[in-house]
């Protein structure tokens, strides 16, 4: 059973991450359109991203916000639509958050550092 205090913290974490994501997604959509219009190759993309600390910081923040936002949203959907509650759901959402965080930061590393 999640305490009201924990529910309130999750609610705020969901909203604050949403505010970060709103800014990130606007920039990401602009980058997607730019890269698509230019028909960038893998080498073109990596030439722009590798060694670029701004890109790395931006996408790292984007990944962290995703890792907070998506699992809390999935948890709510599982509770409301699947009637799934309890420790197993919290563990599953925690595992998803960790997986998203690791895979996302690995992807940021791949395009901006390695």
């Amino acid at each position: 059973m999640t305490t009201p205090a924990t529910q309130a913290k999750l609610w705020y974490a969901q909203r604050i991450s949403a505010m970060v994501l709103a800014a990130c997604v606007v920039a990401h959509l602009a980058i997607i359109v730019y890269a698509t219009r230019r028909g960038l190759t893998g080498a073109d993309i990596l030439a722009r991203t590798r060694g670029n600390a701004g890109i790395a910081a931006f996408y790292a923040a984007f990944v962290v916000a995703c890792a907070v936002h998506a699992p809390i949203g999935l948890r709510t959907v599982a509770q409301e639509w699947l009637r799934w509650r309890g420790g197993a759901l919290d563990a599953a959402c925690g595992a998803f958050a960790f997986a998203i965080l690791v895979a996302g930061l690995r992807a940021v590393w791949a395009v901006s550092v390695s």
Binding site: R15, A18, L21, L29, I45, L46, A70, A103, S114
Partner: protein, 127 residues
């Protein structure tokens, strides 16, 4: 149709579905379904970007796969889902944290319009 209880009954639908005639219900469904699909896509997206660990040739192999027409359509769909989730989420944040009231119907229309605009811009970039 205004969706009062009698007309719902006449259509054989339970009266408790009456709220589903409101655009806010559909905004909720679109926000939730787009969120679910985007969450499912995230691991795939990160895996694809992780191919850059193998250098530009590895990333190019993935980009060539992404040029397949069916993949392009899926990418377009994902961009539209992202735009819908962004626009719908911004509306919710404005309702919850902003000083405005009555942001329901007109902002729902605005959200759909913004997502449609992003979809058109991305479609033009693809062709």
């Amino acid at each position: 149709m205004r969706g009062d209880s009698r007309s719902f009954a006449a259509l054989g639908m339970p009266a408790r579905w009456r709220s589903r005639a409101h655009p806010a219900w559909w905004a909720f469904v679109v926000h939730r379904v787009s969120g679910l699909l985007l969450a499912a896509f995230l691991p795939l997206h990160f895996w694809a970007l992780g191919t850059a660990l193998g250098g530009a040739p590895a990333l190019d192999r993935f980009l060539r796969f992404a040029e397949h027409p069916a993949v392009r359509v899926a990418e377009w769909g994902l961009v539209v889902l992202l735009a819908l989730h962004l626009a719908g989420g911004t509306r919710l944040l404005l309702i919850e944290f902003g000083p405005w009231r009555g942001l329901r119907k007109d902002w729902i229309a605005g959200s759909v319009g913004a997502a449609a605009l992003v979809g058109l811009v991305y479609a033009l970039a693809l062709v």
